[in-house]
């Protein structure tokens, strides 16, 4: 198991946002986490990445505990992420955003930077090469000098993925990577996620509301509701799980969404 979460729990005041969730991610798989709004999916990601410390539970990555680590230390261990509400560095160019992702992998020290010595030059060169490669991978190379804030929405999401990849992760956590995309963009992103695993050998965990995406690319699906894991299994198992249908149907708007997109997934 690359990632092994046992009985992770997060409480905010009186609210149990994540309730003793156990969750396992084998290497080189694509796992989806789904659930209605407010189910605790993002909070779950935040616990893994060290933004929140779990109230209790175990989180092991590559056999080592992540509990107590700061987010930057978690990143250095090999977990990268994107954010549900895009968090790019708006005043930096597309390319610079990716270069920032290389922070923990680059070796340039303060002195190296001032002296412009060979370490600095080699580092910058390697960084540029990798950034170029990643921008090509997500199809943003020709936008490299544009400020991130000026990119259209769909491209911003892809840039977040490129930036996360620049940290050289073993595991990448994607929080709603297709949110706000049109069908073509969604399709392209789906393809991109597959290539992450197949070409780059990276394990992917994604939070996703679009059931067409979930059903077609996941090796395994975990369902959260009110912070609790209510189902887990292969996509088609989960889709037909009465508890899952109940969780979605129990809530007006979300139910329609699930029903519709689940069928869409079937059609595809």
């Amino acid at each position: 198991m690359l990632l092994n979460v046992e009985k992770a729990r997060k409480v905010f005041g009186g609210l149990v946002a994540v309730n003793d969730v156990t969750f396992q991610v084998p290497e080189k798989t694509i796992i989806s986490v789904i659930g209605p709004n407010g189910a605790g999916k993002t909070t779950f990601f935040n616990m893994i990445t060290g933004i929140y410390q779990p109230t209790s539970g175990v989180i092991n990555f590559d056999g080592k505990s992540l509990i107590g680590l700061r987010p930057d230390e978690v990143t250095t261990k090999g977990i990268a992420r994107t954010f549900q509400n895009i968090r790019l560095f708006g005043a930096m160019t597309t390319l610079e955003n990716v270069l920032v992702g290389r922070h923990s992998r680059a070796k340039t020290s303060y002195l190296d930077a001032i002296l412009h010595n060979s370490t600095y030059k080699a580092d910058e060169r390697a960084g540029l090469l990798r950034a170029k490669e990643l921008l090509e991978f997500v199809g943003l190379l020709d936008k490299r000098d544009e400020l991130a804030a000026n990119l259209p929405y769909g491209e911003q999401r892809r840039l977040e993925i490129a930036r996360a990849l620049a940290t050289n992760p073993k595991l990448i956590l994607l929080d709603e990577p297709t949110a706000g995309m049109n069908p073509q963009e969604t399709e392209a992103t789906k393809h991109l996620i597959r290539r992450l695993r197949d070409d780059q050998g990276i394990t992917v965990v994604l939070i996703e509301h679009d059931m067409r995406v979930v059903m077609t690319i996941s090796d395994n699906v975990t369902v959260l509701d009110y912070g609790t894991k209510i189902a887990e299994g292969l996509p088609h198992e989960v889709r037909n799980n009465p508890q899952v249908i109940e969780a979605y149907l129990g809530r007006g708007a979300a139910a329609g969404e699930f029903g519709k997109t689940a069928e869409g997934g079937e059609a595809a």
Binding site: A80, R81, F83, M92, H103, T108
Partner: protein, 427 residues
């Protein structure tokens, strides 16, 4: 297209105008005794235009260098031999430009609002004033002081490290707190340093309290005397005027060094981490940037520049007192940074030049006119510098938050990377 076509002539124009202004300045030195002092002002303005066009126009590199070197290293010192006021202003501009560049690292790059920046300036200034003058004799036996002025070049790096150390020490607890608290805490720290400067005249007299510390001017032992004295003898230019010129060249070189330092940092992993952190702390941390450490580096870098400039300030001005380092000083430097453009290296220098010229030339001139017109002295604008800083800060934030010369991000230079390298997939 029209733009590129006009490139060569503009370059030539700039070079020509630089040379012409240089010749005028030289003639002025020769005709020193026949020239009215008000004639100097238009020449200085001519210089300033040259500098402005050199930075604003899209001209060849050579023309830029000619204009900058010509004006800064030849033109202004020559003016200084005729009229030392402008040279004094230029020295002050350089000192403040270097400090603003330091504060720019903290506020502009890293987005940390530091309102106690003058405290680090004070650390450097007191360091030199105490040991470079006779003050240290008060608490170190043996009548060893003043030290030889040339030791200032050793004190500059010492102050660099001391101020960086003080910055890191103070920053360590402070930088963990939320951004807007930082402003108030640094303000408090600035106050603490001022209180210490004011009160550390007992039990042992270290700072001489509110009276401040003076370094008696002494041609024999002043910094760079070994060059200044023979030069002044050879050229017949009075010693103190020659010394001022030497100081000017010195601070100018320091500004140059600071520009190189900060722009190199800006274009490195460290500078990118600062900007990323400024833009979004959560995302920056998720990219593997350790926040406290990165903030601390920014804070200490800014502090160290201020410390080094403090040493030079004390050496050049020769007298310091606690009020040189109060809140007003910190806001003055902040106003320079904000006016020029947060995070913009040319902008910040420009901001320092404008604020200093405003204070030392424009306001002084207006105040002279007010005196001539017999208006009540309460309307003398030199007393309302805070008002000016206030107006600068508010209006810039509302109208042009990116400053007069907004920071530019550098375009990527990917062209020289070969495709073969890419295929290897450097990681």
């Amino acid at each position: 297209m029209k733009h590129t076509a006009s490139l060569p002539d503009r370059s030539m124009l700039l070079i020509a105008s630089t040379i012409i202004s240089g010749i005028i300045a030289y003639v002025m030195i020769l005709q020193k005794n026949n020239i009215e002092s008000y004639f100097v002002t238009p020449v200085v303005m001519f210089f300033c235009f040259n500098l402005y066009f050199a930075s604003a126009w899209n001209v060849s590199r050579v023309a830029k260098i000619v204009a900058f070197v010509g004006v800064l290293f030849i033109g202004i010192p020559m003016i200084g031999f005729t009229n030392s006021l402008y040279l004094q202003v230029a020295v002050t501009i350089c000192i403040f430009a270097a400090m603003s560049l330091g504060l720019n690292v903290v506020v502009g790059f890293a987005g940390l609002l530091d309102l106690g920046y003058a405290a680090f300036f004070a650390v450097g200034a007191y360091l030199w004033a105490i040991f470079g003058g006779t003050q240290a004799n008060e608490f170190i036996a043996g009548n060893l002081f003043p030290l030889n002025g040339n030791l200032v070049f050793i004190f500059i790096p010492i102050a660099l490290f001391v101020a960086a150390g003080v910055g890191a020490l103070l920053g360590l607890p402070v930088l963990k707190v939320k951004g807007d608290y930082l402003a108030i805490i640094t303000l408090g720290l600035g106050e603490v340093i001022r209180v210490l400067a004011n009160n550390l005249n007992k039990p042992i007299n270290i700072t001489n309290g509110s009276q401040g510390v003076r370094i008696a001017p002494n041609p024999e032992t002043s910094p760079l005397a070994f060059i200044t004295v023979p030069l002044s003898e050879a050229t017949g230019i009075p010693f103190f005027q020659m010394q001022l010129t030497m100081y000017y060249v010195l601070v100018l070189l320091v500004v140059l060094a600071v520009v190189i330092f900060t722009s190199r940092l800006d274009n490195s992993r460290i500078g990118r981490a600062w900007v990323a952190m400024r833009e979004d702390e959560v995302a920056a941390q998720a990219m593997g940037i350790p926040l406290v450490r990165t903030k601390l580096i920014a804070f200490a870098t800014g502090a160290s520049f201020a410390g080094a400039m403090g040493v030079l300030y004390a050496a050049v001005i020769g007298f310091i007192n606690p009020n040189d380092f109060n809140f007003e000083r910190s806001t003055q430097i902040l106003a320079m940074v904000v006016l020029g453009g947060l995070g913009s290296i040319p902008g910040v220098i420009f901001g320092a030049a404008i604020v200093v010229s405003l204070n030392q030339l424009v306001l002084v001139e207006i105040s002279r006119v007010i005196g001539l017109l017999n208006l009540p002295p309460r309307f003398d604008p030199t007393q309302y510098q805070q008002l000016i800083y206030g107006v600068i800060l508010i209006s810039m934030m509302i109208v042009r938050p990116k400053g007069l010369i907004p920071a530019k991000r550098n375009p990527a230079k990917l062209e020289n990377l070969e495709h073969g390298e890419l295929a290897k997939g450097v990681k």
